[in-house]
Symmetry: C2
Subunit: 346 residues, 2 copies
Amino acid sequence: MKNNSLKEIVRAFRKYDNYILSTHISPDGDGIGSELALGFGLKKLGKKVTIANSDPFPANYEFLPCDGMLKNREEIKGSYDVAVSLECPGLDRVGKMKKVFLKSGRIINLDHHMSNEFFGDYNYVDDGSAAVGEQVFDILFELGVKLDLNIATCLYTSLLTDTGSFSYSNTTRRTHEIVIELMKYGVNPSEVNQNVYEVSSLGKIQLLGRAINSLCIDERYGIAWTVLAKKDFEDTGTNYSDSEGIINYARSIKGVNIAISFTEIHGERVKISFRSKRNEIDVNKIALFFAGGGHKRASGALQKGTVNEVKEKVLKKTIEVIKSVSAGFKLKPVLGACGTLTKKKR
Amino acid sequence: MKNNSLKEIVRAFRKYDNYILSTHISPDGDGIGSELALGFGLKKLGKKVTIANSDPFPANYEFLPCDGMLKNREEIKGSYDVAVSLECPGLDRVGKMKKVFLKSGRIINLDHHMSNEFFGDYNYVDDGSAAVGEQVFDILFELGVKLDLNIATCLYTSLLTDTGSFSYSNTTRRTHEIVIELMKYGVNPSEVNQNVYEVSSLGKIQLLGRAINSLCIDERYGIAWTVLAKKDFEDTGTNYSDSEGIINYARSIKGVNIAISFTEIHGERVKISFRSKRNEIDVNKIALFFAGGGHKRASGALQKGTVNEVKEKVLKKTIEVIKSVSAGFKLKPVLGACGTLTKKKR
């Protein structure tokens, strides 16, 4: 359970030569951007770097440079001096890469989740960082790596996506300072934004339409949720990664305290995402109760069962948590009510 | 047709004492944020400041501080040493405030649109500024005004909204540098973002659903458009300002070159917005053809007629413009086709 200092981590990176880097299952912009940036940086120091993840990149991150470092998980053979996990609170989060991690000489664990389990031989966990990309920026700086357009683009993608375009409460002056540094190396914000956010498809927008049709509100407690069933993905020709961000529509409604999305995935499982709009409400607690985790304002969990069973359990627990803290703030009734949309359209 | 230097503008602001400030009809975050920030700044120098606009603030900007400066247009009596227009390419854009402007001693015109008509006695037009808020930041700095949380929040709102959360091509390192300055005065990005972007309603989200249902694509030229009729606003209990940003859904589709939104407003008029996703395609030209204006990548116009008549004329002209420049790039077929959604849902 020891957290290492930046200097100790940098010393470790200097010492070893042969690296495998992985981020979490269902990789996102921070996991991908930070592993690629670290990979490019280590290569500049003459290290051998392989990147492999349990799941493939979502299509909208395929524009990122990877210079031959990225391998399919199946191609990974042999062992490595160091396995580095990026943005994984627990070792299970590297998914099918866990075997490779356990076979490697040592593990370096880079993360910014307060729920991190410090499973590494070296751990560099900083929940004050908006993104693991900020931590990698510091590591590369301390390692004396001169940035370039490739590294800067990967780090910008990491910061952009994990701060919700610099809008979430994790965004600091330091985040903007790093962006300015990255722009000096030629990062084009509008190009990256187009690549990351503007590669939608009619199917993806139809999926959003399905989610909007399912939107429901409990106006007593300010809970808004959406439900996407397997059929919604099949009908629109989309997959789970196309539903990223849909929770923000529920979150955006005035008076909502917690937004939740329920998404059916293969194997009778339901992915639950939570967003809190109030400092007083810690959705990490709700996620932990359902064997998940994350941050105070954004967390997630996975449950077996039908979407209706899971929804009932989760809403019950969510109401409990809101009740337990709502003495600290006045519950305002939400404009509109549960079923306003669903009654009309479903 | 003279553009003044920052120093000349600052000298004018030092010289005169009694100000009326206005932004354009259908005011947006930049117009509102920059007029409020300038107002607060001038007041700190002991000037008399009144702010009045042709149209009221959209509800999502009502959180901004205004310290009694903001008056209803009808309350405006008497005359002013100086009338300052913010973000108005032409004097007509101040709408019903034009009379007051013509009666005032002189006009200062602050804008960042290249189509500006230099109608002021003083003009400070800088199309290199991402927002008029950046120009106001410079003016206040030169005037020696010490910023505070009120001014900083207004300027942050201006920069945030006119750069599409720091994602549009107008975003520069300077934009982020100014954000860092503003955050030093305690601006809370997540609070401002919640106020500006997360005050949606079920009605607004239903309106988005309507727009998604209308989404249509011309896959030969990569044009995507949405149509909102008066009935859509009536049915969902929303108004024009609730449709802001809907064009981004059309814009977000991979392969789209130009996104257009057609919105019926009162008096048999159709508001047309254009977004270009390619440097080669200048939608300001299309807007100018329809007596509108704006920027190369984002512009708008207003036309009399039914939405179908207007749509036909505008699409014809848009195809002409794309054809005239498409030698410079390869037209890629867009995934999905016109009517994929409309056939199913309408």
